[in-house]
């Protein structure tokens, strides 16, 4: 069978199983969105703490690193004996995997604010909290957001593995399709995921540009 025929077959498969597709897609999106929100809620504050406290930076970064270094499948596999099967254990695995890009970007974003800027803020009489709120975070937001974007796009891919521990999602069609040699089913599961990742990346890119605002755009028009 040629690739075109495969594509047509998968399109037909999708049409015949559309309600099921919507169900899987919705599971997939839920996994991605919930785990991503949890990761943001944990990684951004952790990054802020790490950026402001050198002694905690090492331990915090190593937590994120460990979570990222373990192969995704291994994390999913590890979650299984600990938390069992289903949606929630899958969330935990995806959440752990999504943390690091956000964490490192939060730390980098805050730390990369120019020393002179911080010194000026200190010298003008800002407290540490004011410096964080008024200077460091606003300047770091585009970088933090880039971390969230990376993390979310990876997350769409990683969520395919949730199927292995009963988390559902588009992985169901892909994995069972491979087992059955049913390419139409594999493609019907894989292509929407790829499109989802691309769409997510573009939407985030758009927001990122907004967030960067005129201050960042200004770099291109700056004259010496």
């Amino acid at each position: 069978m040629g690739i075109i025929a495969d594509l047509i077959a998968s399109y037909q498969f999708l049409g015949e199983n559309f309600p099921r597709f919507l169900e899987l897609l919705s599971q997939h999106l839920q996994l991605v969105i919930v785990s991503e929100i949890l990761a943001i809620a944990v990684a951004v504050p952790m990054g802020i703490v790490a950026a402001r406290n050198e002694r905690l930076r090492g331990p915090i970064l190593s937590i994120g690193n460990v979570a990222q270094t373990i192969p995704t499948l291994a994390i999913i596999a590890l979650v299984f004996p600990l938390l069992g099967l289903g949606f929630k254990p899958s969330l935990v695995g995806l959440f752990a995997y999504a943390i690091l890009p956000i964490l490192t970007n939060t730390i980098t974003g805050i730390e990369d604010v120019e020393e002179g800027t911080i010194e000026a803020a200190t010298g003008m009489g800002m407290t540490d909290n004011q410096i964080l709120r008024k200077i460091q975070l606003p300047l770091a937001i585009p970088v933090i957001f880039a971390g969230i974007r990376t993390s979310a796009v990876i997350n769409v891919g990683t969520a395919y593995l949730a199927f292995f521990i009963g988390g559902g999602g588009l992985g169901l069609w892909v994995v069972s399709g491979i087992r059955l040699y049913a390419f139409d089913q594999v493609l019907a599961g894989a292509i929407p995921g790829a499109l989802l990742a691309i769409a997510m990346d573009s939407i985030f890119a758009l927001i990122e540009r907004r967030l960067g605002g005129e201050a960042i755009q200004g770099t291109t028009t700056a004259s010496a």
Binding site: G123, G125, A215
Partner: protein, 332 residues
């Protein structure tokens, strides 16, 4: 206004930044801390707004030991200018200038008025620049914003750390001139850090010259040039001491008030602007300007005029040389 009393600062890693430094800054004057890099001049300045605290000795601000004052409050009462990187890139020009008033809890209307006032003072048309971001401005404009920002809450004291250091020579000179004019109007007590002796001679009422951690000489620009304390000071001033001396000598000290009758018509013509390219000088202009006018235009005498444009005296090359000879003989 600011007094250093036997101040020593040793950093945690054991480096001694300054050792037993004592000097006093009078209200309304500009004191320039000058010296090679690593001499401790910036550290000295940071001791005033408590970005650093002394290891030994005491720094007084308005009679009070600064270490007894709340650093946050103290800093909000002291204007602080550093090289242009200190601007907040994510805030507009108006927001940057309004930073300290906002910290102090001023009403927005009052902040807006103050920002407009300062932008006009610093020659930045408010309507044009208020909502621009720092990166959209030129280096000179950014530096103006920096100075305006430091002046925002009308502090008594200004600390300026190499404020014009990152600018090209022409912009720097213009800003120096403008700042001297502004200082005449605002009358702040200023501590100014630079590594450039020419800038120090130009900007300072007093100069504190540092060599690695030591305050070598604390004196007026004239005294530094006339009686450099030791070889280090002489070397730091550089080779053109005589020329630099002219720069800090006002015309009134070398001018001749007996204007020879036969020159009167010609001098009056220059004063009226009838001789192309030749500009009369005023009594407080630097002698260097007068000398360069004489040489450039190949003339023997240059009129000194009052504010009304009337000729009150004359400067000649010989008169300037006469002054120089006494200085060379008496000084070095």
């Amino acid at each position: 206004m600011i007094e250093f009393e036997h101040v020593t600062k040793v950093y945690d890693d054991g480096t001694e930044a300054i050792n037993d430094v004592s000097f006093e800054v009078d209200q309304g004057t500009t004191t320039v801390l000058v010296g090679p890099s690593g001499c401790g001049k910036t550290t000295t300045m940071k001791l005033v707004n408590r970005l650093e605290d002394p290891t030994e000795g005491t720094v007084y601000y308005d009679g009070e030991d600064v270490t007894t004052l709340d650093p946050i409050e103290l800093r909000r009462n002291i204007g602080y200018v550093i090289q242009e990187i200190g601007l907040f890139d994510h805030m507009t020009v108006a927001e940057n200038i309004g930073t300290v008033p906002e910290l102090l809890g001023w009403e927005q209307d009052r902040i807006d008025d103050r920002v407009t006032e300062l932008m006009s003072l610093m020659d930045l048309p408010p309507d044009q620049y208020r909502n621009q971001y720092p990166r959209e401005l030129s280096g000179g404009q950014r530096q103006r914003v920096g100075v305006a920002r430091a002046l925002a809450s009308d502090p008594e004291v200004l600390l300026m750390d190499e404020p014009f250091g990152a600018l090209d020579p022409i912009t720097r000179e213009n800003l120096q001139d403008e700042f001297l004019d502004i200082q005449d109007k605002i009358d702040k007590t200023i501590l100014f850090v630079t590594h450039d002796i020419d800038e120090a001679l130009k900007m300072g009422d007093m100069i504190a010259l540092f060599d690695v951690g030591k305050l070598v000489q604390y004196a007026t620009p004239r005294e530094i040039l006339e009686t450099p304390k030791n070889q280090f000071v002489k070397d730091f001033i550089g080779e053109n001491r005589a020329l630099k001396k002219l720069q800090v000598t006002p015309v009134e000290e070398v001018m001749l008030t007996d204007v020879p009758d036969e020159d009167r018509d010609e001098l009056a013509a220059i004063a009226r602007g009838e001789r192309d390219g030749i500009e009369p000088v005023k009594r407080l202009d630097s002698t260097q300007v007068a000398l360069s006018q004489l040489i450039e235009n190949d003339i023997a005498a240059l009129p000194v005029v009052d504010d009304g444009g009337d000729v009150i005296a004359v400067v000649t090359e010989k008169a300037i040389r006469g002054r120089q000879r006494t200085y060379e003989a008496g000084g070095a």
